[in-house]
């Protein structure tokens, strides 16, 4: 008999905000405790830890906590752990943990993502000569993912006739959802006029196309289904994941400048489940920049190629009571850059119907989660209720 599919048994999150003035480890411990409390597990039950991208000393605030540091701080006893940057982005931890519990390496794995990017400040000019892929971008004052993503957005606009109004519609939508989320960083109303008159960052991307740096830690506990009896909640099944790497792993050499890596990730994910896009109740899709969510909508097949701009401009598609409620917590655009795991956290909160005033009132049992952009991306379907093995 095939092994059961891996599940998520609990979620947790620290305070999330701007310049909280707390260490990454402090925030991570808060998130772990929150997840343990949420699941009903104790620290003694945890025998695995996974994170992406591992501690990144060279990039202050981007990933300030290592697994050994957390392990020591909380007195853990681990059968398995894995952290590092060379994977399909922020969901690497969850995918690795899913593989670990499926192969018996661990029973309950803490997956964490901690950022203190609101507090940390990097001085570009203090770094030495450029090596690796950055040498092809930074000498041309293309310092930021905002620049690299803007090149894709411009090409997408050119090929499909999309306009800033479509990205604005998504920004306004996200702010509306954030208004219902007490932990969101930006909750004040945003109008399309506010969006269109905001300052340009890197055309066609303006201030409100960029997510907001945050301090915070998010935890997802991935478990072996057989180990979840007696826990607080019906576990959520990780129905399928995809993280295919088929194109050039490069911002500027990729063959198609209107799709990024998520098209491959979603394609491989769909090959691993009998479900189809029509079965999905809601979607939590990465929005480090607004255009990335449009790419994800097309990658998952929620609309056709070049149709995502029109899709998000029709609120009956993406509103909380729409056909495909989208980024229900406000996304990273308004809730804050918890950097990937925040989307998993929100998907689970919705499936467990613990999302408070932003709870989807219609069906919300099957979630599409797409995280990443540019060269790294991973896609996932989460399934609550009584899933088929």
């Amino acid at each position: 008999m095939a092994a059961s599919k891996p599940v998520i048994s609990g979620i947790g999150q620290s305070a999330v905000g701007r310049r909280l003035g707390r260490s990454g480890l402090d925030l991570t411990v808060e998130a772990v405790k929150d997840a343990l409390q949420h699941s009903g597990l104790s620290i003694k039950d945890i025998d695995g830890v996974a994170c992406w991208p591992g501690r990144a000393a060279a990039s202050p605030g981007f990933s300030p906590v290592s697994i050994p540091e957390l392990h020591d701080a909380m007195g853990m006893d681990l059968n398995w752990y894995s952290g590092g940057g060379e994977g399909p982005g922020q969901l690497s931890s969850v995918i690795n943990a899913a593989a670990a519990v499926t192969t018996g390496l661990a029973d309950h794995v803490i997956c964490f993502r901690t950022v203190t990017e609101s507090s940390a400040r990097t001085d570009l000019r203090s770094s030495g000569p450029l090596t690796d892929w950055m040498q092809w971008l930074l000498p041309f004052h293309a310092y930021s993912a905002a620049n690299w993503t803007a090149l894709y957005a411009q090409r997408y606009f050119h090929e499909f006739g999309a306009t800033r109004e479509s990205l604005g519609a998504l920004a306004v939508h996200s702010r509306n959802n954030a208004a219902l989320n007490p932990k969101a960083i930006y909750r004040d109303p945003l109008t399309l006029d506010d969006y269109l008159s905001s300052r340009m960052i890197s055309s066609p991307l303006c201030l409100y196309d960029c997510d907001v740096p945050a301090d915070g830690s998010t935890v997802v506990i991935v478990s072996r289904r057989e180990c979840t009896s007696g826990l607080r909640r019906e576990p959520i099944q990780i129905e399928a994941t995809g993280c295919r790497l088929e194109k050039r792993h490069s911002w500027d050499q990729a063959p198609d400048l209107t799709t990024m890596s998520m098209s491959s990730a979603a394609k491989s994910m769909w090959s691993r489940t009998g479900l189809t896009p029509n079965d999905v109740d809601f979607a939590e899709l990465y929005d480090g920049f607004s255009i990335i969510t449009l790419f994800w909508l097309e990658a998952f097949g929620f609309c056709g190629r070049g149709e995502a701009a029109d899709f998000v401009m029709d609120n009956s598609n993406i509103a909380l009571n729409g056909k495909l409620p989208l980024n229900t917590h406000g996304g990273q655009l308004s809730a804050g850059r918890t950097h990937g795991l925040g989307f998993v956290h929100e998907a689970c909160a919705q499936i467990w119907r613990e999302a408070g005033r932003r709870q989807i009132q219609g069906p919300c049992n099957i979630a599409a989660v797409g995280v990443g952009g540019g060269t790294v991306a991973a896609a996932m379907i989460l399934r609550g209720g009584n899933p088929i093995r």
Partner: protein, 142 residues
């Protein structure tokens, strides 16, 4: 307004090594060079020790035309580097030699608001010490 951006100051520069040196110093004689496979004629960029098309390791730098078209561009307004005047144009230039063979670069001596995808461009270099960065300008009609 026109942006010049021929300045060589305030740019972050690559660390030269045996793999990339030919590329970053190619502009010394005003020519752009890319690594090309001697077996299948595929251009390999960024430079690598093997051809991703046929796995041959027989590769050598070859002079290319320095002509191409704007595959995409962005006008940057944000002062990421306070020492650099904004706005300026970052472009993806697709070289004539091969489909999807691109350089991230700056478009110089142009009005940022007039740049369009598909515009013809040609290379010019800006010298930063022993490094020659390939920048591009709108090409004369040819």
């Amino acid at each position: 307004m026109r942006v010049k951006m021929n300045d060589s100051s305030n740019r972050m520069l690559p660390q030269l090594d045996d793999t990339n040196r030919f590329f970053w110093q190619s502009g010394k004689d005003g020519k752009l060079r890319l690594l090309r496979c001697e077996c299948c004629a595929h251009y390999v960029h960024p430079p690598a020790p093997v051809c991703s098309n046929c796995l041959s390791t027989q590769l050598s730098p070859q002079i290319v035309s320095g002509k191409g078209r704007v595959a995409s561009f962005t006008v940057n307004h944000h002062p990421w580097n306070p020492a650099v005047e904004t706005p300026y144009v970052i472009a993806l230039v697709e070289l004539d030699e091969q489909e999807n063979l691109r350089l991230t670069t700056n478009l110089v001596d142009c009005d940022p608001e007039s740049v369009r995808i598909g515009d013809r461009v040609s290379v010019r270099f800006t010298q930063c010490g022993d490094i020659y960065l390939p920048l591009f300008a709108l090409a004369d009609t040819d």
